[in-house]
Amino acid sequence: MSAAPITPVGPATTRVDVSGALRGVRPGLALAFAIVGFFVVSALLPALLAPYDPFDVNLRDALQAPTLAHPLGTDQSGRDVLSRVIYGARESLYIGLAATALSLTIALVLGVAAGLSGKFTDGVINRFIEVLFAFPVLLLALLFVTVFGAGTTTLIVAVGVGTAPGYARMIRGQVLAVKNSGYVEAAGALGHSYPRIVRRHILPNAMRPLVVLLTLGVGQAIVWASGLAFLGLGVAPPSPEWGAQLDAGRTYITQAWWLEVMPGLAIVWFALALTAIGRWIQQRLEGGQR
């Protein structure tokens, strides 16, 4: 066989080395990484970045427009908006991650169960997913707030449950695709048991897109949570959570635009950056699957 001409291996998908992984990174993507990096550090070590205490009331400096001393201005109690945005990152990121984790857990259970089970159970789970779909997230949130009262946990549960059906459907589709793939049949032909095939082939391959869903989901969940907090259904002021800041600044919108714009920008930038990164991971994964 030594005489065999080695035909060139299609588009090379060799092991990822770091320089190779970063070579194709567009400037926009680099910015996205920078933004996410900034907010992650903010969430973990806010004191490192924040110039002031976010709760330090100083009525003499109330409602100052952005200056050098207060780059993003101050709020009605004279608290530094930049510091509050930085401290708010922890709360927002926590809610985003927790809600997404909850959402994906529900989705995994439903999606995998539906994908692996027979026609009847699949149908039952699918109808259930559709019922969940029919509930707007906002309505679910109102329901939870009525039952459990407003707060971080309620917010997480509401967003988590509300966004689960979409993911459940994607995971079910993925499980079905892998279940009907050639390599699952090949494993069956080798005499491997079904549980072993599920464990070794179906679950790991069906999980592949989860990284993407997680990244995209966190950004989405943060937007949802901020929206609910703005409506007073989530974290209440004086918490520096971004949505709560929007809610608190609402009253002063004619005098102090920065109270709305600055936390709003934080939400937008963070969600955009996470989405950009999610898409990038998605492209890379799909590229590798060719």
């Binding site: 066989m1 005489a3 065999a4 035909t7 291996v9 998908t13 090949a186 494993a187 080798l190 005499g191």
Partner: protein, 558 residues
């Protein structure tokens, strides 16, 4: 005849990789030039250069690139669009991919006309119907509104040809136009292309199939690594090849070699290949008795895809199963593997009940029978390395898995360095070797080979077929060998089973079936097979009839 196309010193590169290195040829109207070579030889890129479709990252240079007196070098996108379709028609290999899935074929062809401002709406409509009729698509009035997936493979390819010849181009380029098709459908497509050429168009045929080339071409250019290694009159090149690569390509064709001859050059993998010993006619390792399988069709009615199929396979023997797509070959294979439950009949494996057992009891015996698929890539978990794929296939009581994996790799002619690779990082031939190694891992007595070489280039195919033959000699394996390729079946099989619409049409030893076919269907199948005899040295190919596949029947006479 006037010269229509002249290409001198054509160079095409992608980045720092030179794909076409100084190719020259010319073509006159009413003639057919075949460009032959394997994947990666640059033949398709050469063809695409002529219609300006090499893509944005390519650098194309040539001393001359002249078509019908017009210099094609440095044309802009808009000018290319004008040339494409109007002057040069381009037929791609895979009609299912090339046609818009969501557009009726009539609209697809109409678009080609509309882009070049052909007549009024009504004139275009008449032209589309005329074209569909001309390429032999039955019931054009009905078909014109159908989507690509509602047509058979042959009809799709015809539709694609119809859109390529819509404006009577002076040159038609066909890139592997029949590679995905059954022989009888292929014969009809070739017939159609012949007619187009006889009506005065020049034809460039890109193919790896020398038999197709022999039938169609006036001139042949053999490409390898981006260069033309041999070029000349088709008859001379095929009858008396001057270049060793052309010779190797010719040797690799299985249909011209009976069982026992080697197809690939170089030292054999096994030290010596002994003459095939006479086989003891003892108990069959695999026996099928009256297999029946029905599927529920889209109309809710049951379709019998395997209808009373019986066969036996003895130890060390190869039983070839041949038939066109839809004949029930693959279902038969799946029934033999007990991957699908039969609606009637039974399969015995090594003399014991097999298909009737519940899956739980079959599982322990699955190591006795394994399978090689047509598309190895999809049969491997994309996350797994070759080592893991093979180790996973070993029986659970294997003593030293690492050593056994090394043995398997060696057995199929792979190197130790391939161990850590993922399937995606291997070439097509290497992947199929891994698939063979995996099939060998449980030490089976029977291997079901389902179109194992259909996706491979002819020389790689030759190596894989030789490997399978060697392994059979070495390990005493039995093969249930399924293929639509009559040449491959003839080369590999001791006995042959011809399937049509789920029924066994004919069975016998390979030589009986191929040299003295008894049934009209088998004869039609064999008649449709292109052979290496060049054009003109045998009577014109008759249209194969009766047409075997009912979905692709009517041929409009020229």
């Amino acid at each position: 005849m006037t010269e229509l196309l002249r290409v001198e010193n054509l160079q095409v590169g992608f980045g720092d990789r030179q794909v076409v290195k100084g190719v020259s040829f010319s073509l006159e109207a009413g003639r057919c030039l075949a460009i032959v070579g394997e994947s990666g030889s640059g033949k398709s890129v050469t063809a695409r250069t002529l219609v300006g479709l090499t893509g944005g990252t390519s650098q194309v240079t040539a001393d001359t690139l002249e078509f019908d007196g017009r210099d094609l070098r440095g044309l802009g996108d808009r000018q290319w669009r004008d040339v494409r379709g109007r002057d040069i028609g381009f037929v791609l290999q895979d009609a299912l991919v090339s046609l818009d899935q969501l557009r009726p074929i009539g609209r697809e062809i109409d678009e080609a006309l509309r882009l070049h401002d052909y007549g009024t709406r009504d004139e275009r409509r008449r032209r589309v119907l005329h074209l569909l009729d001309e390429v032999g698509i039955p019931e054009p009035l009905l078909r014109v509104r159908q989507l690509p997936h509602e047509l058979s493979g042959g009809q799709r390819q015809r539709a694609l040809i119809a859109s390529a010849i819509a404006l009577d181009p002076k040159l038609v380029i066909a890139d592997e136009p029949t590679t995905a098709l059954d022989v009888t459908v292929q014969a009809r497509i070739l017939h159609l292309l012949e007619r187009i050429r006889d009506e005065g168009s020049a034809l460039i045929l890109i193919s790896h199939d020398l038999a197709v080339v022999a039938r169609m071409a006036d001139e042949v250019a053999v490409m390898r690594h981006g260069e033309i290694v041999e070029r000349g009159d088709a008859r001379e090149v095929l009858a008396d090849p001057q270049h060793e690569y052309t010779q190797a390509l010719l040797d690799a064709i299985p249909s011209t070699h009976s069982k026992g001859t080697r197809l690939s050059p170089g030292t054999p993998h096994v030290t010596t290949v002994p003459a095939r010993p006479a086989r003891p006619a003892d108990a069959p390792v695999l026996a099928a008795e009256g297999l029946v399988k029905r599927f529920r069709g889209p109309d809710g009615r049951d379709r019998t895809v395997v209808d009373d199929v019986s066969f036996t396979l003895s130890a060390g023997e190869t039983l070839g199963v041949v038939g066109e797509s839809g004949s029930g070959k693959t279902t038969t294979a799946r029934l033999a593997l007990a991957l699908t439950e039969a609606d009637g009949g039974r399969v015995l494996l090594n003399g014991e009940p097999w298909s009737e057992l519940p899956e739980k009891r079959r599982r322990g015996r699955r190591r006795e029978i394994s399978v090689i698929y047509q598309d190895p890539l999809s049969s491997f978990d994309p996350r797994w390395s070759v080592e893991r794929i093979l180790a996973d296939a070993l029986p659970s009581d294997a003593r030293d898995p690492r050593k056994r994996v090394a043995e398997l790799l060696d057995l199929v002619g792979l190197e130790d360095e391939h161990r850590a690779r993922r399937p995606l990082q291997l070439s097509g031939g290497q992947r199929q070797r891994v698939a063979i190694a995996r099939a060998l891992a449980p030490e089976p007595s029977v291997i079901v080979c389902d179109e194992p070489v259909s996706a491979l280039d002819v020389s790689i195919q030759a190596q894989v077929l030789d490997l399978l033959t060697d392994l059979q000699e070495q390990l005493g394996l039995s093969y249930l060998f399924i293929s639509h390729d009559l040449g491959v079946i003839h080369h590999m099989s001791d006995r042959v089973l011809v399937l049509n619409e789920g029924k066994v049409v004919e069975t016998g030893t390979a030589d009986e079936v191929f040299f003295a076919p008894k049934q009209p269907y088998t004869r039609a199948l064999l008649a449709a097979l292109p052979t290496l005899e060049p054009r003109g040295e045998r009577p014109a190919m008759p249209e194969p009839s009766p047409t075997p596949s009912s979905s692709d029947t009517v041929e409009v006479s020229a």
